[in-house]
Symmetry: C2
Subunit: 339 residues, 2 copies
């Protein structure tokens, strides 16, 4: 029983062994064989005594020591653009739940979508000897993923995907298509897209899904009707301003709720009424969408499930299985902003 700075006294395997008059290794074996009788490790009676004492003393193995010996930390690194983004925070909630069930603890770090930070955070995580990574901020065209593969770091992507890597995402192409179908049905013929950052597969796929479907419906949409932007409200506002300078669409599709909210602000400033003069559809169905004065139509993506799925995929990657990309189905929530 040593006094640990944090957590007061800690019981060690040896403490238990001494108290029972047996060898630490025996205790270890007993506590590991989940089966009733530790196969060959100890008698049923001893096993029971060990388990009993362990419970009574509140024994919990030292992860440092275990990790040192077994070379597995049961630590999972999670990198996201930023946690103050509701979408990523929700996915992280899913991760936390599933990880806890599997006995994993998770580190999260914000990369702010900055390549330098991505590398730096990755290095910090690896220095901590995480068993692997869940990467929520993958940039298309970055070499980071290849490097990680080369270094044999197990990882899965989440939120954004990249060709050739396992990932848990929303089916963003389908999401874009749903919006195209919806706006077309409502009779819109002149539309613009606030497309997000071109390095993110979410932006690319949602936009591509929308544009391709729109064209295949017979619609007309020029490349100049697609405006790339940041994902936040300010970015959405700016993009909408750009769009309104060039033309006057009857509908806007923003690949992100925050951008959509920014766009709604811009429309208002131009004296246009959302839902009446111009339809707006967002993406992710964050909790705010429904609460806006003019409730925002939005594609609901299963964020919590995406997080959970990411952990499950990760588990399988660790087991050496070959894992494909998983795309979870979104649904469209139609509200006043696009009736």
């Amino acid at each position: 029983m040593k006094d640990n700075g944090a957590g007061g006294q800690t019981v060690t395997l040896k403490d238990l062994a001494d108290e029972l008059g047996i060898h630490p290794s025996t205790v270890s074996r007993v506590l590991h064989s989940s089966s009733e009788v530790a196969k060959g490790a100890a008698s049923a009676a001893t096993a029971e005594r060990v388990r009993e004492l362990a419970r009574k003393r509140g024994y919990s193995p030292d992860p440092q020591a275990t990790g040192l010996r077994t070379r597995r930390t049961r630590l999972l690194g999670v990198i996201v653009p930023r946690l103050s983004d509701l979408v990523l925070a929700t996915m992280y909630e899913g991760i936390e739940q599933s990880a806890a069930e599997l006995g994993y603890s998770t580190f999260v770090m914000n990369s702010l979508d900055d390549p330098g930070e991505q590398r730096r955070k990755t290095d910090i995580m690896l220095a901590r000897r995480v068993d692997g990574l869940i990467i929520g901020d993958a940039h298309l065209g970055s070499s980071l993923l290849q490097e990680l593969t080369a270094r044999k770091v197990p990882f899965v992507l989440m939120n954004r995907r990249a060709r050739g890597y396992p990932s848990a995402t929303c089916d963003d192409v389908l999401g874009g298509e749903l919006v195209a179908d919806h706006l077309w049905d409502k009779g819109h013929r002149k539309v613009s897209v606030i497309a997000g950052e071109p390095y993110a597969s979410t932006a690319i796929d949602r936009t591509a899904g929308f544009v391709d479907r729109w064209r295949s419906l017979g619609g007309d949409i020029a490349d100049s009707d697609v405006v790339w932007s940041r994902f936040d409200t300010a970015g959405g506002r700016e993009a909408a301003e750009t769009i309104l300078m060039n033309c006057k669409p009857t509908a806007l599709f923003a690949v992100n709720d925050f951008a959509a909210i920014g766009a709604m602000g811009a429309l208002r400033s131009h004296g246009l009424t959302v839902g009446l003069d111009v339809a707006v559809v967002g993406f992710n169905d964050t909790s705010l969408a429904a609460e806006l004065p003019i409730p925002l139509s939005s594609v609901r993506s299963p964020m919590l499930d995406i997080g959970r799925t990411a952990v499950q995929l990760f588990q399988r990657v660790l087991n050496g299985e070959r894992v494909e990309a998983v795309a979870l189905k979104p649904t469209l929530c139609v509200r006043e902003s696009s009736v």
Copy 2:
């Protein structure tokens, strides 16, 4: 050079020592004495050779081994109600920054403000042998904090405070006072408060600050004008409905932006125009406040600084210093919702 499951080959102290033909302990001492010449540990020449090789090989000490030996993990546990709450996510961002500077890594877990989860998450963190905790979800009247103190777990509170414990918070009383002054100045005389959860010091303090100042200004406010509620939009909406059933205030103070947004929704449903018929003021000045169709007045709390301060306080607690509560000053941002 062993092959680690994650991270490929890892260089150990012994690897470096072998390659240089010296003893691992010497390498260790050199790498630790930050001073140019390792005082007595090695010659300047040797020290340089060691540092050079360490850099070349990309040596990074195994935290497991270090922690095992030194009994310090440089791990910091952070518990928050939920990360998908923009306020807590932002504070966490501050924590992450400061912690990284001090060489700490942080775990975050969501307690969902559920007492059972609070204990469970705390236990998980302690089982991981964190050096201490930053607690962002303290409940007034809970015995958890006393227990932690009894177990000698170093911790500081953040966001919410509790008498007798070190904490980094916003000066919520002052925040409430600012709102009272503002609304009184604007000529409001009939006001209601959407007060939040009574177990949170944030809710209590903001409400108390407001009510006390209001009365000292000569205002009249009954206990029934203070409605306790959840912190989210739905909670704010319900609270506003309750208020509107009883009376018709000319101003509402919600202790949280999300609750304020919910309240704005309720007002709208009642045919009331925010800012014209009823003034609304929120708290925290989350990034959405300014983006709403009718921009929301809100008390801006220094969330990032609160997170950073929490880490600094924690550092001092670890050093055994006696630490007081720190309350950072908020400012009021007046917008259209309360002109």
